[in-house]
Amino acid sequence: MSADYTADEMMTVAAARQLRDGTACFVGIGLPSTAANLARASHAPNLVLIYESGCLGAKPDRLPLSIGDGVLADTADAVVSVPEVFNYWLQPGRIDVGFLGAAQLDRYGNLNTTVIGGDYDDPGVRLPGAGGAPEIAASCGEVVVIVRQNPRTFVERVDFVTSFGYGSGPGERRRLGLPGAGPRVVITDLGVLEPDPVTCELTLTRLHPGVTVEQVRAATGWDLAVAERLTTGEPPTRRELTVLRALEATKRAAG
């Protein structure tokens, strides 16, 4: 891996590139928010950022410290109540892309942010919980997942389905009546996974520069499928890195 940028920077840049200009994107805090703001500050100036705190069309000039940061309200086209953002904006399918992280993710793109290990009532690790994710995963036109890859995170089957991906495979979303298409792409610090069009199984389709298939397989808790036409992504451009680092600096400055 080049010394010019970190694996996290590559991941964030690759995630940002997934967001098309002019679309509406429901953004969680953390990596999704950083990537979405990078997209807006670079190739997608008309990306509409929607935060679950009720900020529609937020245009922060620094990274928000939380989904309820004042800079989101100050720069939003509209600030609405939390019930309204879920009922009037997310639920009817008005949002093109849901941008989610996860503590665990499985072969079929199901996400877990609830408990790991043990059982629900006596968990190994208690995580924050669902937040907006279950309905973001259900109702957005499609879902982009950003998550660091390692065998503890990328598991055969999540310990708890907080947000539904493809369940156990093809046809399940339709059977359940979920309006959105589900996870279209998973961006990690090693590469890019996409659901197989037939089996819905997450498949390695792109490597970040300098990463090998073996590295990705070693970081995956299931027998990872690899696309026939595996590609290698472009490294971050000078401009992408400059914008990203400037954004990150605003967050450190606020700390």
Partner: protein, 272 residues
């Protein structure tokens, strides 16, 4: 008309042992001072309700006020996990903490139903997730027109809701702006309500984005300048982000936590 009270009188009158209590706020306008007063007054066996239980709930849980938590996302916003919350769930310290867990959409609609005088709300939610297995407050319902299956959630009716707002006038009309989250619904869903405000003024000048709660829909108002610290009150204060980061260390260790509570909460006076 809402009564104007001191914070300590307001908490003493309105928050009782065993109550279902919602202290709401969406990273903005978190009623920290009221939460500290609840700790100081030693309330026990509370069912704490909140969409986004954060540092103040970590403090209430660690201080032993809570028996149960009804929530949708419990974390230190922008920082990470809540260690007191985790310790209670994983190790029953300082006591066991029952959980009832939802999604944001579900919790928001539960407040909406409560505010609307309805026993339930309908949404498209939870589908395919493991959440409905762990509570009876999520069920399915059939549309009487189309036959579609949807999700129903039971109304939330807290005994008391506590929120922080920017201002109130002397009749107890409350004005808040910026990110106002689910506070209106949480107040209207509750049997009683206590609103702490940055200041009480003669006249509430209209502000863009304002939500106004008429005084006759609020039980009591207490003037508590800085009552949202370390969160913020738009137009009055900014978030003390260093404290949120610091809390990760304070909350991680039981003794450090106890020392902090003793010094910063128990020995402090109610600010009003």
């Amino acid at each position: 008309m809402a009564k104007l009270v001191s914070l300590s009188d307001g908490v003493a009158d309105l928050v009782r042992d065993g109550d279902v209590v919602a202290l709401e706020g969406f990273t903005h306008l978190i009623p920290f001072a009221a939460g500290h007063e609840i700790i100081r007054q030693g309330r026990r066996d509370l069912t704490l309700v909140r969409m986004t239980p954060d540092v103040i709930y970590d403090q209430l849980i660690g201080a032993g006020c809570a028996r149960r938590l009804v929530f949708s996302w419990g974390g230190n916003p922008g920082v990470g996990s809540l260690h007191r919350f985790r310790d209670a769930v994983q190790n029953s310290w300082p006591g066991p903490l029952e959980l009832e867990e939802h999604s944001h959409a579900g919790m928001a609609n539960r407040y909406v139903a409560g505010a609307s005088g309805l026993p339930f709300a309908v949404l498209r939610g939870y589908t395919g997730t493991d959440l409905p297995r762990h509570t009876t407050n999520i069920r399915t319902i059939t549309c009487p027109f189309t036959g579609q299956t949807l999700t129903a959630v039971a109304a939330l009716r807290p005994d008391v809701t506590v929120v922080h707002a920017q201002r109130a006038d002397r009749a107890g009309n409350v004005q808040m702006w910026g990110i106002t989250g689910v506070q209106k619904e949480a107040v209207l869903a509750a049997h009683r309500s206590l609103v702490t405000v940055e200041e009480i003024v003669d006249e509430l000048d209209p502000v863009p984005g304002q939500v106004v709660l008429p005084g006759w829909a609020v039980t009591a108002v207490a003037e508590v300048p800085g009552g949202a610290h370390p969160s913020y009150a738009q137009g009055y204060s900014v978030r003390d982000n260093a404290f949120y980061i610091e809390w990760d260390e304070i909350g991680r260790d039981r003794d450090t936590f106890r020392t902090w509570i003793a010094r910063h909460v128990l020995k402090a006076e109610a600010s009003a």
